[in-house]
Symmetry: C2
Subunit: 658 residues, 2 copies
């Protein structure tokens, strides 16, 4: 039975939840396929996450391996294939709680970096799980800056082998998933040396564990790096190599080869490599970043209409906490952001597909823009969504802090997305570098990629809004965002030039501008996100109330961004103080409007109770019953030796009648 | 041996680290006492936290009980008493990793709320640990709003007993520390009913477990609420009561008493109760909030001079990451905030002492101001420091994400401080209510408490700064903060009045202003913090370089606040865009200045390696060696059954020679 405080929220939905779900899925047929996958996975007890919050790291690892092995069987059973329409829903249905994800990266790296012969040899072995692969790039002392890696691979002409070493402790491979306990093979990135000359970083297939008994191979030291903030199910590992020899054929050689006599040959274009990084950054947005934020919003918003606290009006019963303006101001902007980023993800996917088609035709022109957008949005979205999940957690008070709410795990996992696949500050500076370059080109009248043509058209006007309703016009707010992005880019470009002209060395000047460069990159992405949301809303069909509610969310996303960052808009007077007061008024009005549809808006994300795994967020809103039932299952409710050992002696020591 | 990259940072300190440590401690003698306590605790293996990051919740609980019991012995041994000068350093030296903290709250509540007779009976029993106490206020469905509690205590004249019940699942007591597994007694807050009439919330001493065998008492259901984001060492519990009877004498009756015939008598002033809440909020700032931020800064800053990544200048070795402006911009403002809040804590402590002296003289005039300041600063400091610890964690990249860095535990623990002892938004609204009241009074020419007299003196001038150096003048920036606080308070006060005058009901009008009321409360606290820091610096002795470096930190704290919140200062033109550019320039200049002293500034916090418990933050900076050694101790490096169960069958199933 549904908690009436939650049920009543669904009766007044201004739009069709089912239609919105279909829109998010990309069509009703996709919804059907997704639900079938979810049903198949969730009805299978092997995939259960029921006791997850009570498990140790060891138990989590074992469960993830069990699920990964079972998944192979399940896919076969269900007729699911890696290229089928179901595939993308499987990982989501498992909530990522599965091993061997790096095995896939191992395979992809061979496909991308290996020669045809290498692909023909290794891919079938990997596909049939005759080995378990990992991917060993990051070192204890080296991450983002690949040229700094210290692992070496020295070619020995006599034996036609590479000799691999991690010569210092900082050279130890550190972090690779599946490597701590599972992997038998890995792709090791190492500095290639031939005849004493260094040729830079290259990938080598290295066997690390026996296929017979899983013991470590000679010269190999490997293990697990221990506890992390999350990812207990993954055996992130370390790897030390001491004179480990691999045959010449194990260097992945699509682009570079060492011939038997030691001659080094570079072949083909490596530009495609950048494309791989771009693909990875865009692909993580949906599963690793948007889904957690959508789950957090679902949990926090459902809880906020069930939880009642204090009286809003004297004499009435305690109010639903979502009726407080401050609670709306915490949660509803996160909801709007989830939708905004869902649509920007669509935009990036489309751009990526277009880029891929161009690359197939040997046209690499789109790469810089794709790299800049994928870097910038990876950083902005992971940052924004991580903050959003934390806000949701805190908005649920004490119960949000219990692992049983599901929110702590969502937070500790999404947080990692700010760090992996490119640290966010480093990525934003890459976007900024592109912006500065394009700004300079545009200023000189040269052509620039489509997403940055606006940089050329610097307008010195003022925001034309005359009353608070004008700020519900996408033209008004999109233009304001554009203005800020141009201003921040042009002003930091000017600072950079001034510094250089005043004699500061180029790299020092760059460093002295980086705080402002990051601001410019963020403003660029924020502008694109607002513009894209507005354009998406424009194109939606007007029936079933979908366009109207999406328009409200778009307005909220845009105005929340201005309200939270007023200085950027006020700085040069583009927006006046009076206009900023209008923004505030419209923004606060919108909160009350969207609050009415808050529950239907999270229902549309269509998470099952099992996928939320939250005592606070279930569809029926029976929060307190579930918290209590789950708590009773905790191992902390078993007898502790602490009583016999410490409490009893303490109490009995001085026991007297009370 | 100290890592030379860290060692070199200490050679150029512009001030005496030892003198700064003494300043933070409140004198060299305090430093000596603190170090003696730390030494005694850390040299005792029972108090070791060595394997903490590998332990389960059950193991953490047992260790905390062991430490709590051992601490009694230790205190006796060392001659430490609860009133001695060492006492305040013990909890810090244990990093809070100890049980029976609620036993102390149990005792305090009896001392404050109990009659002399009750104190005489229970306090000796508690002191000698003839019982273990807890404090049961919060319910599954009720937190902040005490009037909403559902537990009942019905007086039975016939037996002279109170009959306690938790009539619904939402009435179940939930969260009390030490109650899940340890406590034998607890103070239960319940709605008192006599002859069918409800007299509101009152405290009752209830025995919940047998003193003989620790079994639950008749009618009592209790246990542990399960896993949380942190506090694994604490057995936060639940409690269901079904017709549990306690004698009439068990209602704590300093202020209210039920006589044998059921007559209800209220006696004395309850104002002192507010003072207790104030004391709790202020006392948590130092141990639970500032110490974690200081530890996080120590870890992140030491790591940032040891970690090298990418080249800042072509041809040179990879740069220390603290040399990047973006890294400085992440960490150094947190360092400045740690100092700013340390000094505001001194200010609040002094205010509290003064308030206490006045109350002793039956003068309660200071209570509203004390309540407003303690509420506001509890919220602002916990919020700011939680965000600061998260920034430190993320600034350490992947290694920050490892539990071994110590940063995840600091974060997950400090986060709770935003929720407990008053949820932050609720507290800020209490401060705002005080501000509005005082603003109205001041506008009407009535006297107001000292901290808000500035509200009366609204000035409509402009910021007089003419160049970036002017923004290093405390008068300039303090005035700017004051201006913003007045503007935000007066504008939301005006909005509130407008709404009410336009016919909106008072409570609705208040709700519609709460987002802006929160802003005003924060601005007020921020202003007081900046002003207090500036005044503190003014009074410091000029020798040993202390005043100079503190002045830099004060400037950084102030300018970072303006830089991060430019809109508030630009809004009405008090600060012009040109002046804001000066702020930015001065702010960025300061980062480079303070960066030089960053390591000495965290060394001055004087944390031992054991208290930091961080592979990244140790005094010697041997980061990589320690990460590796610690990882080897992880239980995840023991044999997993997953190999025999899943991996071996998978691999051997299809095994062939590779």
């Amino acid at each position: 039975s549904v908690n009436p405080d939650l049920g009543s929220e669904r009766q007044t939905a201004s739009f069709s939840v089912e239609k919105l779900t279909a829109l998010l899925d990309g069509g009703a047929e996709q919804t059907r396929i997704r639900r079938a996958v979810v049903e198949a996975i969730e009805s299978d007890p092997v995939f259960s996450r029921e006791n997850q919050y009570f498990q140790t790291q060891n138990e989590r690892y074992e469960a993830a391996v069990r699920k990964a092995v079972h998944l192979q069987k399940k896919m076969h059973e269900m007729g699911w294939t890696e290229n089928g329409p179901e595939y993308k829903y499987i990982y989501r249905a498992l909530s990522g709680d599965v091993a061997f994800l790096l095995h896939r990266v191992f395979m992809r790296s061979i496909s991308v970096l290996g020669s045809d012969k290498q692909i023909a040899k290794w891919i079938p072995l990997a596909t049939q799980h005759k080995l378990i692969g990992s991917y060993a790039q990051t070192e204890l002392g080296h991450g983002t800056y690949l040229q700094g890696l210290e692992t070496t691979a020295v070619f020995d002409t006599a034996t036609q082998e590479f000799i691999l070493n991690t010569p210092k402790i900082s050279a130890m491979k550190w972090w690779p998933g599946d490597m701590g306990r599972s992997a038998t093979h890995t792709v090791v990135f190492a500095q290639l040396y031939v005849h004493g000359k260094c040729y830079g970083i290259h990938p080598f297939i290295v066997q690390i564990r026996s296929l017979q008994d899983h013991s470590l191979c000679p010269g190999v030291t490997a293990g697990d790096i221990g506890p992390k903030m999350n990812f207990e199910h993954i055996d992130n590992g370390f790897l030390l190599l001491k004179n480990v020899r691999v045959p010449r054929e194990n260097m992945l050689s699509k682009f570079c080869e060492v011939q038997p006599d030691g001659t080094y040959i570079r072949q083909g274009s490596q530009k495609i490599n950048y494309f791989t990084m771009t693909t990875v950054r865009i692909s993580l947005i949906s599963d690793e970043v948007l889904t957690p934020l959508m789950k957090a919003c679902t949990i926090a918003i459902r809880y906020s209409v069930v939880r009642r606290q204090s009286k809003l009006k004297p004499g009435e019963q305690e109010a639903k906490i979502l009726d407080y303006q401050t609670q709306q101001e915490k949660l509803l902007p996160q909801l709007a952001a989830a939708y905004a980023f869902h649509f920007i993800n669509d935009y990036l996917q489309e751009l990526l597909n277009r880029g891929y088609r161009e690359i197939q035709r040997k046209n690499f022109d789109m790469l810089p823009e794709l790299h800049a957008l994928s870097s910038g949005f990876k950083a902005v979205i992971t940052q924004h969504c991580t903050a959003g999940v934390e806000i949701c957690l805190r908005a649920c008070g004490g119960h949000g802090y219990s692992l049983l709410s599901g929110l702590p795990s969502l937070y500790t996992k999404i947080l990692a997305s700010c760090i992996y696949e490119g640290e966010n500050t480093v990525l934003l500076l890459q976007t900024a570098r592109f912006l500065i370059k394009c700004f300079m080109a545009a200023s000189a009248g040269q052509p620039v990629p489509p997403s940055v043509t606006y940089l050329a058209a610097v307008k010195h006007g003022k925001c034309p809004a005359k009353n608070k309703l004008d700020f519900l016009s996408p033209d008004i707010y999109t233009e304001a965002y554009q203005h800020v992005a141009v201003r921040l880019t042009s002003s930091v470009a000017a600072k950079l030039q001034d510094l250089i002209q005043s004699g500061v060395k180029k790299h020092d000047a760059w460093n002295q501008c980086t705080v402002q460069l990051v601001q410019a990159a963020k403003a660029h992405c924020h502008y694109i996100a607002v513009k894209n949301f507005a354009e998406t809303v424009e194109k939606l069909e007007t029936k079933a109330g979908i366009q109207k509610i999406m328009k409200h969310l778009c307005d909220l996303f845009a105005l929340h961004g201005i309200f939270s960052n007023t200085g950027a808009f006020l700085h040069d007077g583009y927006t006046s103080a009076a206009q900023m007061d209008m923004v505030t008024a419209s923004y606060l009005d919108l909160l009350a409007v969207i609050r009415k549809d808050a529950v239907p808006l999270v229902d549309a994300f269509d998470f099952t109770d099992k996928s939320l795994n939250s005592a606070l967020g279930s569809f029926d809103g029976q929060v307190y019953q579930r918290l209590y039932e789950w708590a009773l299952k905790s191992p902390t409710n078993q007898m502790s030796p602490a009583y016999e050992r410490y409490l009893k002696p303490l109490l009995h020591n001085t026991l007297s009648k009370l």
